[in-house]
Symmetry: C2
Subunit: 268 residues, 2 copies
């Protein structure tokens, strides 16, 4: 974000705040930020404060940040869960200055070195509970996403968390579990390496994702994730039952039904 907002001339000066000294150094070297400061020093100098931290840290930071800003400043977060974040600012005196968002783009990598130019272009971003935001704060955040080339979807924080459980969180659990399955069963690493084809690599790619980011997401979206995970296990059991009972007609039906995902994915 910092890369793109600087390049497009939207951000004149970017101040980086990070608990990790090595990441601060990298961010400076990579030109992601112009300077490094503490949170307390950075906030009074900033028009817009972007919180891009694991969602658990975001919950802890938000009360502090909301206490440090004035009614002229704007705060946005970019975390993958929204209901908890909406709740923690619900009673803040300056609630209207905070815009909860979720740009739907990421890779399995994290840290400053994982920054990718043009990353967000043509992807979707979610803005939650816009009616609770001051008009000028909302307009600034909308402008940020416009500059990044994203299209904006509006929904309430609770609905957001339900949808991302289906669309993002369960994919990650599946991928982590698939990696563990293969690592558990396939002791011959050479065989994995030599035979792993594109299909395997694409299903298991997300299994490289950072636990520091994902444990807090699963924790905050626990109920929705459990709900989808139960359904997913039930679906896998249908495949298992087909094979056990050698019911290949039903197996065919299950796959034909899965093929319907095409219609959804190819609509764009």
């Amino acid at each position: 974000m910092a890369l793109a907002l600087k390049e497009k001339g939207f951000a004149m000066r970017v101040i980086g705040v990070d608990a990790n000294a090595e990441h601060c150094k990298q961010a400076l070297e990579l030109g992601l930020v112009d300077e490094i400061a503490t949170l307390e020093a950075a906030i009074p100098q900033s028009d817009l404060i972007i919180l891009a931290v694991p969602v658990g840290v975001c919950l802890q930071l938000l009360p502090t940040v909301m206490g440090l800003i004035t009614s002229k400043q704007v705060v946005m977060d970019v975390g993958s869960t929204k209901a908890g974040i909406a709740e923690v600012v619900a009673d803040a005196a300056l609630r209207g200055r905070m815009v909860p968002t979720h740009p739907m783009w990421g890779t399995e990598y994290s840290g400053p070195a994982a920054a990718v130019k043009e990353a967000f272009v043509k992807k979707a971003t979610v803005i939650c509970d816009k009616e609770k935001c001051d008009a000028d704060a909302l307009a600034l955040v909308e402008k940020v996403y416009g500059v990044l080339g994203m299209h904006i979807v509006y929904m309430n924080a609770v609905a957001h968390d339900v949808h991302v459980a289906y669309i993002s969180h369960i994919s990650h659990i599946t991928s982590f579990a698939l990696a563990n399955t293969v690592l558990e069963k396939e002791k011959e690493e050479d065989a994995i390496f030599e035979l792993a084809s594109g299909g395997f690599e694409s299903t298991v790619r997300l299994a490289k994702s950072n636990p520091a980011m994902w444990v807090p997401i699963f924790r905050q979206n626990r109920d929705n994730v459990l709900d989808v995970l139960n359904e997913h296990i039930a679906q896998l059991r249908k495949f298992k039952a087909c094979l056990e009972k050698e019911n290949y007609e039903y197996l065919q039906e299950l796959i034909e039904n899965a093929n319907k995902i095409r219609k959804v994915l190819n609509r764009g």
Copy 2:
């Protein structure tokens, strides 16, 4: 394969045989084949017969093909299971002319229009039970894969089927089941479409795969697939238990373990 083998000057003439008249027409139009013939007419004119059909059809076709060839001709198949195929030719008079192979490349699409130039370059291919093949037959097939730019891994047919259950077949079941989960639970198709990001798309891509190809694969590799599927369900249940019991330390461990797949995937 036909595209690449013609372009490299390896195949002077390619005769296509297909049960589907529309696919025959497409293959001619796309220049994949030079002419179309029946199996009985095509075989006597061919130096090399490549069987690229669903693995169930391959089992049925092989006895016929093995009965039609002479000891100067070579047969290879490119199916995703190998033990059943090895078995069906085990007692053939001309067993040595048949080379069972599995080039590890494919997409979720099928039919002539799914052909991709340079598809196999730098990917792995498996040749099974090479000690059962005549030296000149093996040499010809090795040359084919050399021309395609693939590197060859040798293993016996039974070991092949165990490994592909881990590395390819389970990824497909996971993807089909994930698509069914999302289609079942997420009735708001607009939300899937708007929010589906790269992570979802990559885990669910294989769910577009053709049941005509995959039902016979799962059927022929049933025991191995069931074994891995049981392990995968057990792994998913660990994630479920972590969330139910709010054991986030163990959830962290499960994800850290899954991250080890990096080491295997990045070795290349």
